[in-house]
Amino acid sequence: MATKKKSEEHIIEINNLKKTYYTGDVETPVLRGLDLKVKDGEFIAIMGPSGSGKSTLMHIMGFLDKPTGGSYHFEGVDVSELSDDDLALVRRERIGFVFQAFFLLPRATVIENVMLPLLYQKHSHGHDMAKKALDSVGLSHRLDYLPTSLSGGEKQRTAIARALINAPSVIFADEPTGNLDSKSGKQVMNIFQKLNEKGHTIILVTHEKTTAQHAERIIHIRDGLIESEEKVKGRINYSDGDELLK
């Protein structure tokens, strides 16, 4: 796997990607030969109505699922043929996930939740790393809280810290603001932008126009194919003077 560097190199290169689900004799094509390139360090938003295949695309790009056709190069390596264990290894070392429903372990404290990915790798400074990650999302005062005592925004920021802990190349965010009020949503999107500035590639899946406006580029998907893509004009950017996090 290539080392991470900010460059014009494509971190993700997808050609003619297909995914078909089989239920008995019924074939359900979800992705029908889709091409997509994502540059290292880019911030893209994938938009589309439900059933368009945007989640499936994200799952395949995030190594949670395997394509049934086409090719997928990640950091220059063809990964379409990897075994389940290899996929787990890539997820562990290269990928961070943020989900709409947070998916925090209810009985583990904030810092324990953030440290969860480290359970599956060798790390001796897990606690310090988790503190640092929580610090970067402005939650260093909540280390020993249980998720149930956090607000929605705090929960999602904990989930972001968890996605950050293994210093991933790419962070996938699936409707990260879907369960949040607008103020918390802004905070979360602000964090994603800051992470992007630090060099993380961010791939956001959403159906909200405003949320997508935080990205650099929007990909519109319909019926398993890319319908259109656009450079974001008038990108929403909090980095100038917004003090929401402080």
């Binding site: 799952h59 995030g62 949670l64 699922d65 389940d84 264990d85 787990a88 290894l89 997820r91 562990r92 070392e93 990928i95 996930f97 989900f99 429903a101 998916f103 372990l105 009985r107 969860l116 990915p117 359970l119 599956y120 790798q121 060798k122 968890r162 293994n166």
Partner: protein, 412 residues
């Protein structure tokens, strides 16, 4: 390795978080393990008791008992009168035997002043005590004269004497046995419990007196004898068998023990019989306990299976952050093992505690009962409980490990 330690820690934490549920999950294993420990402890205690009973008799002693068959143990009720008093008299003339003592036991009421009690009286002769490797503590033994004259004299176990006379000197006291007056001539040395009977609560009178005045029968319950030094015990048993067979006019050239109406056994045979009975009891109880462990294991499998379904999302998340199927499998397997390990620990503690209580109660009835817990039984219990965790944890853990992360995360 590091990961395994972390998984063990996680499992312990989740156990303590839901104590009631964890306890109910473990209950089957706890009961099963406690039962195994108790059964093994009592089995060992019984074994020890039998061995000490054997040692209390001379190892040259043989018995003639009524009833055919290979083994010792109690004769069938229909055969009880087959060994006759005159068989005993005739055995006195066998030159390879010595200290030939008849035994006839009967339940009687004894009275001293206003005190009454029921006890077992043994009719025998002057060799009774030496055959039991015992002797007279105070006073004198039964004599040939007592036998010849059918005197009303009685030897007492020290417990009977203590009960009746308290601090008074028992020798020379007069008691009534079934209404007839007897003189106490001696107190027997402590004999303890042998084959589950407290010999110190018995009294002994001359068999001639017994037959003429207390219990008029022509048979005896057994004849005890010692084989003379230098004469092979097996040979003595065979010779005695031929001798009695001839007296009973039994034609048995095939030497089939079932054709005989009596049997000649050595002390070792008798012990083996009791040992055999104790073993069968122990093992059948272990089997029952094992079934309870099996049920407990299935209970754990059931709970784990439900827990896997409940924790679908957690499993999906773990996979999303990089857990392999093996990691997930390991986590759930370790959880099951930790549950059964803790259950095993509680079960062993409970079992040891219960065994101790039971031994306290048994000591009330059987003086020489010993409380025994062997290291092997504790280790075996731990091994069994951990194995149950492994065996019954595999199925739910496999289910968890095969879960598709997308499906798992899709559930809202």
């Amino acid at each position: 390795m590091n990961r395994i330690i972390k998984f063990v820690r996680i499992a312990f934490v989740s156990l303590t978080e839901n104590k009631t549920q964890a306890f109910l999950t473990m209950l089957g294993i706890i009961i099963g393990i406690a039962a195994v420990i108790m059964v093994l402890s009592i089995g060992r205690g019984a074994e020890k008791l039998i061995l000490s009973s054997v040692e209390s008799f001379g190892n040259r002693s043989i018995f003639v008992q009524p009833g055919g068959g290979e083994q010792g143990g109690p004769p069938s009720p229909t055969a009880i009168d087959k060994v006759k008093y005159r068989d005993y008299l005739a055995m006195q003339d066998l030159d390879y035997l010595e200290d030939v003592a008849p035994i006839l036991v009967y339940s009687v009421a004894i009275t001293y002043g206003s005190q009454n009690q029921n006890t077992r009286v043994v009719g025998s002769n002057e060799y009774y005590l030496s055959a039991l490797n015992s002797g007279v503590d105070e006073g004198r033994n039964i004599s040939q004269n007592d036998l010849d004259l059918s005197r009303r004299v009685v030897l007492m176990g020290y417990k009977v004497a203590d009960d009746l006379f308290a601090d008074r000197d028992p020798i020379g006291q007069k008691i009534k046995i079934n209404g007839k007056t007897f003189e106490v001539i001696g107190i027997m040395e402590e004999q303890g419990t042998r084959f589950f009977q407290d010999f110190d609560k018995r009294i002994v009178i001359p068999i001639t007196t017994m037959r003429t005045q207390i219990f008029g029968v022509d048979y005896v319950m057994s004849v005890l004898a010692n084989v003379k030094e230098g004469y092979p015990i097996e040979e003595a048993i065979d010779q005695t068998r031929f001798f009695i067979r001839k007296r009973h006019s039994i034609y048995n050239p095939q030497d089939d023990p079932l054709k005989d109406d009596f049997r000649v056994v050595s002390q070792v045979d008798a012990a083996q019989t009791f040992q055999g009975i104790a073993d069968v009891l122990t093992y059948s109880l272990v089997v029952v306990a094992a079934i309870s462990l099996l049920v407990g294991g299935i209970g754990i499998m059931n709970i784990m299976y439900v827990s896997v379904t409940e924790r679908t999302r957690e499993i999906g998340l773990r996979k999303a952050v990089g857990a392999t199927a093996k990691d997930v499998m390991l986590q759930f397997l370790i959880e099951a093992i930790v549950i059964t390990f803790v259950a095993g620990f509680i079960g062993i503690s409970t079992g040891v505690g219960m065994s101790f209580l039971i031994s306290l109660i048994l000591t009330e009835f059987v003086d020489s009962w010993e409380f025994i817990i062997t290291l092997e039984s504790v280790l075996a219990a731990f091994f069994v409980s951990v194995s149950i965790g492994m065996i019954f944890g595999v199925y739910p853990a496999r289910k968890a490990s095969r879960m598709d992360p997308i499906e798992a995360l899709r559930l809202e």
